[in-house]
């Protein structure tokens, strides 16, 4: 006795008989499941780790930096409605020097949170000890910088603070919920080697920076139910007179915002890719089961004649879909777990959590199972309606001979003289329009997916290049500690190796247009700048207007503003001036939210006279070291940011990560294309085995016969290419919208090369599947096929 009921045994044998197709479909399902499990699990692991971290270390809700306020002002912040806790501190961006490193590095010096159980943004000590408040020069170092530079407790480095070089000793290494993602001001990516955060005792740091009894940075934790917007307004009101640059909530806190944007990308990935795979899987199951029902009509008739109900017969075929699904699920779960683990490992490099472990939640497994089973059973159900409708008598009679007629294209005279094999191909394709349509759609979807993802890679490159080669073409940015009069230009230009120096001024403002407003910085640039260019949507360089404002597209969308509109500009620093400024042009920029004015106009607006806060430099690379040495000897003037170096680092990073992603998606798309094409070829072979054998008997060589199979798939693939390009265009637009944040916008950069390469990948995948199937023609048993009635 077999342990399985007879019908299930038949199921197992059917699956084994169609193992190629079963595996192809299972792989498509597995791709959907793997993506879903990977993206959702990574998202869950990250967000759980973040929530726990924020909670335990009491991450603040509102942040503000200001020039200087006496400590007594903190009490007024505590009195704001909805505020639970306020913590003030001293913060300063400084230049760091490490022995043996010529280039100047940047660091953020922060005063240590108070040592009590309820401190906001509490640190997690990873090694060593906290600095002794009685010993000057002891610091706690952020793990990112410590690891990148090989620093542990006992290591020493110097920082130029308030014009004096301070020798600092590391007592311990720590993490902070404020700096999960550590990125220097103005940087695009983390550079742990060149930018680091460190903490000193409040008294020590205050003494160095002359901030005794004062603060220039505050964090607030809110009561449950507090209205963040109101608190922000109240904080601005209290601290405005003290030079506050405008309070902001978590959504604008650097580290938090980057995490959010990563979360957004993971959910976008989970939202776009799995549905495509599942639609394809449903179609594949539909076509395989339909064909199975056609070839097994007599068996179905027999089963029904024996007394199996319609439902029992349908269930038999649905079980096939369920079994394929389960196989795909298991493969997908395993792959998803592996990918998820890898992705989390990658995140570990960028995001500094005290504990980040990859875990797969049961509900994610359940979700992936539910959606893949639903898609599979959906495809199978449609197919089984056919089997349910068959009456035993009809089913057991042989099917009517296939009826063909000339295809529409022949009838209207478009196709002529195709040769007999040409007619065979075209008429078979047009005889099953639904199925051919689905094959075309399936291949087109895989092509679209590939185009959209490859364009995404192109777009990121375009975004980066546009940032570094248009918007910010400087090699080096010097940031002055204080606003400096324009005379500083001469001082900067005389520095060794400086080939060109341009002064800049950035001012924190709140832009309001009608009901909408946004906090940004306006960058003031002098006309005729060589180191930054603004371009419009058509790619034309836009000159800075004498008094108007240029807005980047995304910012203009936020404000619902267009060229010609008047925008209310509220300066958030200094004299806190207020003015109405006209938007003269909307420009194309992809990084951040940008607003530009002429520096002179900006200075007029703030009422600060002709001043600058930084200089952008083009330098002679050969004299770089001399420049660095000179900068180190004139402390207190500025911090230095190496823009050009950041670019190369970023490109390296991108090239590594993107190549991985490219292969990932090429693999994904190939799985779909292969699955669809393989399935189509197998079904064609099954339907036409008789005809192909006949041709062999008539004296057609194997290659000539295989050409019919290849020709049909080639025709379908050919038709799917333009459709796939259209889908790719649509998907790229969708992804662009789903992936864009205020930090980055994805430019639309579909190039002919992307269409071309993607098409080549899909053609190769289709050709490969066709070759696998065409091999079966080698072993076509002519005698057996011809003995059987069609």
């Amino acid at each position: 006795m077999s342990p399985l009921p007879a019908l299930d045994l038949k199921l197992v044998r059917d699956m084994w008989h169609r193992r190629g197709q079963v595996l192809a479909i299972a792989l498509v399902i597995a791709s959907a499941v793997a993506t879903l499990v990977m993206a959702l699990s990574a998202l869950r692991s990250l967000s759980d780790a973040r929530e726990a971290y924020y909670d335990r270390q009491r991450f603040a809700h509102v942040f503000v930096t200001l020039k200087r306020a006496p400590e007594s002002v903190a009490a007024r912040l505590r009195d704001i409605k909805g505020v639970a806790q306020v913590e003030t501190r001293v913060a300063r961006l400084v230049t760091i020097e490490i022995e043996g490193v010529t280039e100047p590095l940047r660091g953020l010096a922060l005063s240590l949170p108070e040592r009590n159980e309820t401190a906001l943004n509490a640190l997690v000590l990873r090694s060593g000890r906290l600095p002794d408040p009685d010993r000057a020069g002891e610091v706690l170092l952020h793990e990112g910088f410590a690891t990148a530079n090989g620093f542990g407790p006992g290591a020493t480095f110097s920082a130029i603070m308030n014009g004096r070089k301070q020798r600092l000793t590391v007592t311990g290494v720590a993490l902070s919920p404020e700096h999960i993602y550590v990125i220097g001001p103005g940087d695009l990516v983390p550079d742990n080697k060149r930018y680091g955060v460190f903490w000193m005792g409040r008294e020590t740091l205050s003494a160095i920076l002359n901030y005794e009894g004062a603060f220039n940075d505050a964090s607030l934790r809110l009561l449950r139910g507090a209205v963040t917007k109101d608190v922000v307004a109240a904080v601005d009101h209290v601290l405005g007179p003290f030079g506050a640059a405008g309070a902001y909530d978590r959504s604008e806190q650097g580290s938090h915002a980057f995490l959010e944007s990563e979360f957004g990308q993971l959910s976008a990935m989970a939202g776009i890719i799995p549905p495509i795979f599942l639609i394809v899987a449903a179609f594949l199951l539909y076509s395989v089961i339909s064909r199975q029902i056609e070839t097994q009509r007599q068996e179905i008739g027999l089963l029904k004649a024996f007394g199996y109900s319609d439902a029992a017969v349908a269930w038999h075929f649905i079980k096939f879909a369920v079994a394929v699904s389960v196989l795909g699920l298991i493969l997908g779960w395993l792959a998803g777990a592996w990918f998820g683990y890898q992705v989390t490992e990658l995140y570990r490099e960028y995001f500094r959590f005290p504990a980040l472990s990859f875990a797969i939640a049961p509900d994610i497994l359940f979700t992936s199972a539910a959606v893949s089973l639903a898609a599979s059973c959906g495809g199978a159900l449609v197919a089984t309606r056919q089997a349910m409708r068959l009456t035993p008598a009809v089913a057991m009679a042989p099917p009517r001979p296939a009826t063909y007629r000339p295809s529409l294209l022949e009838r209207i005279g478009v196709l002529r003289d195709l040769g007999t094999t040409g007619y065979m191909i075209v008429r078979h394709v047009t005889r099953f329009p639904a199925r051919s349509g689905m094959t075309i759609t399936g291949i087109a979807l895989s092509l679209g997916l590939l185009i959209a993802t490859l364009q995404f890679m192109d777009a990121v490159t375009l975004m980066i290049d546009s940032f570094f080669f248009r918007t910010q073409r400087q090699d080096v940015t010097l940031r002055f500690v204080e606003l400096r009069a324009d005379a500083v230009h001469g001082e900067v230009a005389r520095l060794p190796g400086v080939m060109r120096a341009e002064l800049r001024r950035a001012v924190g403002v709140k832009l309001t247009h009608g009901p909408r407003n946004k906090r940004v910085a306006i960058l003031g640039i002098d006309p005729g700048s060589d180191l930054s260019q603004q371009v419009d949507a058509a790619g034309n360089v836009v000159d800075l207007p004498p008094s108007g404002l240029l807005l980047s597209k995304r910012l203009a969308e936020h404000l619902d503003a267009k060229a010609g509109d008047l925008i209310d500009v509220a300066v958030l620093e200094g004299r806190r001036a207020h003015a109405s400024v006209q938007v003269t042009r909307i420009i194309d920029e992809y990084v951040g939210l940008s607003a530009y004015m002429q520096r002179a106009a900006l200075n007029r607006l703030t009422g600060d006279g002709t001043v600058a806060d930084s200089a952008w430099l083009k330098i002679d690379p050969a004299r770089e070291d001399a420049l660095f040495a000179e900068v180190k000897q004139t402390p207190g003037l500025f911090t230095i940011q190496l823009q050009r170096r950041a670019y190369f680092m970023f490109r390296d990073l991108l090239d590594q990560n993107m190549m991985t992603m490219v292969w990932f998606y090429v693999g994904f798309a190939s799985v779909i294309a292969f699955g669809v094409a393989y399935n189509a070829s197998r079904i064609t072979l099954s339907e036409r085995a008789h005809e192909l054998a006949t041709l062999r008997v008539l004296g057609y060589h194997k290659r000539e016969v295989a050409l019919i199979l290849v020709g049909e798939l080639a025709l379908l693939t050919l038709v799917s290419l333009p459709l796939g390009c259209l889908i790719g265009y649509g998907l790229a637009t969708l992804m662009m919208e789903m992936f864009e944040t205020d930090l980055y916008q994805i430019p639309f950069g579909l190039t002919p090369a992307t269409y071309g390469w993607s098409s080549i990948v899909i053609i190769i995948a289709a050709a490969f599947s066709c070759a696998v199937v065409a091999r079966r023609i080698q072993t076509l048993d002519l005698v057996r096929v011809l003995k059987a009635q069609d």
Binding site: R400, P401, A402, T403, Y404, R405, G419, T420, Y423, M424, R427, H428, R431, H690, E691, T694, L695, R696, V697, L698, G699, Y700, H701, K702, L782, V783, L786, K787, Q789, D790
Partner: protein
């Protein structure tokens, strides 16, 4: 009829030998499950012969036909078509042999359903150098007015006549027919047989017909009876009957 002893050659050969088979053996499968389809068949078929193979199911006649047509290979023994040793031919050479010399007709027509009658015939005329034009081949079998019909639009007899036209359009030296009238009623079957006889007479095609239907034997030069994988007897008809005189 004369002669009844199994012999390797029909009597009084007036024409050169087309096929020469010696000790043809075909075994399917191995060991206990081995099936001996042919157990050493010796036979000569002459150019222009019209030969009918008779015998019960499983007697080996289809196996012989398939081997003659290069669709299958013997397990042992030799088979020559004229000077060519078919048993030593590669797959590719057998395909070329079928392409150049052999026309097949099967019980179930094996037409390509997506092609019209004319196109089905064109399938073979595209393969050879001096074919009979498709139209002419179809007129030969009485289907001059059905050329643009698809198989599904034709009766069984018409379909089989398309198959005959397809088989003869390449002017084959050999025409191999496996139960060509098996699926047809008597009157339709007669029309198909007439077409075969016509081709045999006008083109001099060596024709081998398998049938269960003993009455067809009357139109053959030679009648070969099969039993249990062997040639049981070979009879020669002194006078061939016309297909139109047959009925069943």
């Amino acid at each position: 009829m004369t002669g009844s002893e199994p012999t390797i050659r029909p009597e009084a050969p007036g024409e050169p030998v087309a096929f020469r088979a010696r000790g043809l053996t075909k075994v399917y499968g191995m060991g206990d499950s081995a099936v001996h389809a042919l157990r050493g068949v010796d036979i000569d078929l002459h150019e222009g012969d019209f030969v009918v193979l008779l015998g019960p199911s499983g007697s080996g006649k289809s196996t012989l036909l398939n081997i003659l047509g290069g669709l299958d290979r013997p397990t042992a023994g030799t088979l020559h078509f004229r000077d060519r040793d078919l048993t030593a031919s590669s797959d590719r050479e057998l395909t070329t042999f079928r392409r150049r010399h052999v026309g097949f007709i099967f019980q179930f027509y094996n037409l390509i359903p997506s092609l019209t009658a004319r196109e089905n015939v064109a399938l073979v005329t595209e393969l050879v150098d001096k074919p009979l034009p498709s139209d002419e081949a179809l007129r030969l079998v009485g289907l001059g007015d059905r050329m643009d019909h698809f198989p599904a639009q034709m009766s069984g007899g018409e379909q089989q006549r398309v198959a005959v036209a397809r088989a003869v359009a390449k002017r084959p030296e050999v025409l191999l027919c496996d139960e060509p009238t098996g699926a047809l009623d008597s009157a339709t079957g007669v029309r198909v047989l007439e077409a075969l006889a016509e081709v045999n007479r006008t083109l001099g095609t060596t024709t081998v017909v398998i049938t269960h239907n003993a009455s067809i034997a009357g139109m053959a030069n030679h009648v070969v009876r099969f039993g249990d994988g062997r040639v049981v007897s070979i009879e020669t008809n002194a006078t061939k009957r016309k297909a139109s005189e047959l009925s069943w």
